[in-house]
Amino acid sequence: MFSRTMTALAVLSLLGSISLAHAADKPTDPQIAHIAYTAGIIDIEAAKQAIAKSKNKDVVAFARDMMRDHEAVNTQALALVKKLKVTPEDNDTSRSLVKAATAERAKQDKFDGTAFDKAYVTNEVTYHKQVNGALETLLIPSAKNAELKSLLETGLKIFQGHEQHAEHVAAGLK
């Protein structure tokens, strides 16, 4: 119960920092494309680490699902930016996502066995909540191009599925 409250608080603070960073200036389409693509890469990197480290078949299967889906979405995103002749533009939100993810991976790398599995899956729940919150409140409302907005909306539904999937895997680890 206590840890659940702490997780919820952590999510709220992460969401807060993302929204705050752009309270004044909404991200542009090239920035949104960069943020969405970066968010996918981060989850792929986390999945690769889990596949290498975990011995739990449900955790490894979940990580493979994450890799496959995020690669599919990012392939679609790359095809779209190419078609729209948009060059994804690095920005503070992308940089802070990468920084936080690098620290998280280093933290998880110190764990092994069940401790690693729990750390990875718990963070997958938190991370998808964070990304979904950013998509809903900031990225989708800010997107100008209709095709980009549509891809983000589909992405949101896919990642909401991942969030629930991660919750199921987490429940199975108890």
Partner: protein, 105 residues
């Protein structure tokens, strides 16, 4: 056409189904933008459901303690209903995708 035929044959092989009743119908369920359409189905034992995945990601149709079939992105899969009763199905990869089929004799 060839790929559809191939998908159909592979599912028949996977399920190793027995005799197919003469009046069996095929119900088509399309998956698009993370939604099963229609999501609520009624069918008879022996009917088949053809699942068509129009999304960019793979999905499954899964029943707890029952069937579990992967429907790859851009592909179709068919399964035959073998038992009467209501069953809730969902996607194992994205559990926010749900539906229900009521199977009668």
């Amino acid at each position: 056409m060839a790929s559809q035929l191939k998908a159909w044959i592979s599912i028949v092989l996977i399920l190793g189904m027995g005799s197919i009743p003469a009046r069996a119908e095929t119900i088509r369920v399309t998956i698009e933008k993370m939604v099963f359409t229609p999501a609520v189905i009624t069918a008879k034992v022996g009917d088949r459901i053809e699942w068509i995945n129009k999304d960019i990601v793979d999905h499954t149709t899964t029943v707890k303690g029952g069937w579990d079939v992967v429907i790859s992105s851009g592909k179709a899969a068919t399964l035959q209903l073998e038992q009467a009763g209501p069953v809730d199905f969902y996607c194992r990869f994205h559990p926010n995708m749900k539906g229900r089929v009521t199977v009668t004799r």
